[in-house]
């Protein structure tokens, strides 16, 4: 798909500069394209070819013949379960990230709070959305781990034993809570411009017609925001689906999500079938690809309203 789009635009400039005399056109064309050659070579070597290699590998036997067996090999419990777990965790963190991010963004843009809070929130979101990976896991272990600050305070001040309530940071719930730390800020960063695009006139019109605050949100604002919300959901989904380092540093490899399985497979062929690794990677590309496609389609639709 990608190399087709690369090759396709080549003939176009011929039509664009039609009135020019022939010799100069012939001389100008290659030079013009030479300008993007380094970039194209870079993208081809380090982005497109490696990906295509993986995709092709998913359809090949170790001898190089075409096969669908690798993809069928995905249908075993030790692969299906991680995929389900990854999808579950990505849906949950994307959904909650959207919800809490929207609430916070709405509070600072439309909630009548002082203006500097909005700026501070956006700056902090820029930092927090980049504060992912290994250090984030350490921060949560230091807070909600067995000896973490909150765990200790809850126990000594409030007499609540967090571990006895069944909470464990190294779990589905713990990972969700940790992922939200970069999901919510990302949502705030993306949705704030959309909220700014909600025109004051719409609210005033709704109020003049007798709408309550919740009616305005339910019947005017949310329908307008809907494509942005769904689109951001897809982006957050892909964001969480591909994340490895946070989960790795938080849980070791005790929580089998897809990227961790793939990591182990690349390191040491734990599934005892090298080409199953290709198939898993291909599955990941398909899922994040679909999520991003949804994002792009919905964003173009959202931009119709938010101008």
């Amino acid at each position: 798909m990608t190399d087709a789009t690369l090759a396709a635009p080549a003939p176009e400039p011929v039509e664009v500069q039609a009135p020019r005399p022939r010799p100069s056109r012939a001389a100008a064309l290659p030079l013009k394209w030479l300008g993007v050659a380094p970039f194209m070579l870079f993208a081809l070597l380090f982005l497109i070819m490696p990906t295509i290699h993986i995709v092709l590998g998913a359809f090949q036997t170790p001898e190089g013949a075409f096969t669908l067996r690798n993809l069928q090999g995905l249908a075993v419990p030790q692969v299906v379960r991680p995929f389900m777990l990854s999808i579950k965790i990505s849906v949950l963190t994307a959904g909650l990230g959207c919800l809490f991010g929207l609430i916070l963004a709405a509070a600072v843009t439309k909630g009548g709070l002082p203006g500097w809070i909005r700026d501070a929130m956006l700056t902090f979101s820029g930092v927090a959305s980049n504060f992912a990976g290994v250090p984030l896991a350490f921060a949560f272990i230091a807070t909600l781990g067995r000896l973490g600050l909150v765990t200790v305070i809850l126990k000594e001040v409030f007499g609540i034993n967090l571990a006895a309530t069944g909470f464990n940071l190294i779990s589905f719930l713990g990972l969700t809570l940790t992922y939200l730390y970069f999901q919510i800020p990302l949502m705030i960063l993306i949705i704030t411009p959309a909220l700014d695009g909600l025109k004051r006139e719409w609210r005033e019109a709704a109020e003049i017609l007798g709408a309550s605050g919740s009616q305005y949100w339910r019947m005017v604002a949310l329908p307008v925001l809907w494509p942005s919300l769904l689109g951001t959901f897809a982006l957050l989904f892909a964001n969480s689906f591909g994340a490895v380092a946070t989960a790795m540093a938080l849980t070791g490899s005790s929580l089998s999500i897809v990227p961790i399985i793939l990591f182990a497979q690349i390191r040491g062929d734990v599934l005892q079938d090298p080409h199953l690794g290709y198939a898993i990677a291909f599955g990941m590309i398909v899922i994040t690809g679909i999520a991003n496609l949804v994002y792009i389609v919905l964003r173009t639709r959202a931009e119709k309203w938010i101008k």
Binding site: F46, L47, P50, V134, A142, G242
Partner: protein, 262 residues
């Protein structure tokens, strides 16, 4: 007090709790290295660890090379596409967004298979080759951010007119790029550079799977072997992220300031 405003404050307080408790927790934890008192012992331990210095310096150097490589690839391309090949812009933009679509672990998986010792370009065969591969890989990871930053910077200046003016005064392409375009998009490039730095410095998956002694793998190793030092490392990493974002804000603000004066 109106009720919407009350709920706004409530949401804000809840958000503050969620976002600041881990930061406080991480800082408090990092001070606990000595029994019974708060101290900076964990930081002293980390900073005096030769492994820390080696891996950190390694990641800093790789980050710097990544930035140079990223700027060299992205800036001329974005400029050229705006000037001569506007029809190609959607294609380039699509390519620059691909690293957000394809999970990094899949990209590095492709590297390992494509550039192994028995391939046509055996980059992973030597340490230097792997370093180069890692640098290119990080440039790919940073591509979406670098391209967006530079392209936004180019949008604010009239590339075509400036270039034509320079050309009619006899400037060479080299002069045009170094004396005209670069100074105008310097703050944009700085934004991209510091974002790249923040991404690369603690990156784990690429460095671990390519077996390079980066800061990310070191942090994971510490996480498995020490109690309080990881928290100190997290504080340091957070400080670096915060500093990078601060510089970006400053750069954008300064460039806006310049534009108003003109």
């Amino acid at each position: 007090m109106g009720s919407p405003r009350f709920w706004s404050w409530a949401a804000l307080v809840a958000g503050l709790l969620y976002f600041f408790l881990p930061l406080v927790g991480m800082f408090e934890f990092s001070l606990r290295a000595r029994r019974g008192e708060y101290s900076f012992q964990a930081y002293t331990n980390v900073l005096s660890d030769p492994q820390f210095r080696e891996t950190f310096m390694y990641s800093v150097v790789v980050a710097l090379f990544t930035i140079v490589l990223g700027v060299l690839i992205v800036a001329p391309t974005a400029f050229w596409v705006r000037l001569k090949l506007p029809k190609l812009r959607p294609v380039i933009e699509f390519i620059t967004l691909l690293p957000l679509v394809i999970p990094p672990i899949v990209i590095v998986f492709g590297y390992i298979r494509l550039y192994n010792t028995s391939s046509w370009l055996p980059l992973t065969g030597t340490a230097m080759g792997t370093n180069i591969l890692l640098t290119f890989g990080y440039s790919v990871l940073a591509l979406p951010y670098m391209y967006r930053a530079v392209d936004t910077g180019l949008r604010t200046i009239d590339v075509a007119t400036l270039t034509e003016a320079a050309q009619s005064m006899g400037a060479s392409w080299f002069t045009i790029i170094t004396k005209l375009i670069l100074p105008n998009i310097l703050s944009a490039i700085l934004s991209g550079a510091f974002l790249t730095f923040a991404i690369v410095i603690g990156e784990y998956v690429f460095a671990a799977l390519l077996n390079r002694p980066g800061f990310g793998p070191y942090m994971v190793w510490m996480g498995g072997n020490k109690a309080y030092e990881p928290a100190a490392l997290a504080v340091i990493a957070f400080g670096i992220t915060w500093a990078c974002m601060g510089v970006i804000q400053l750069a954008t603000r300064l460039s806006k300031h310049n534009r108003v004066q003109r």
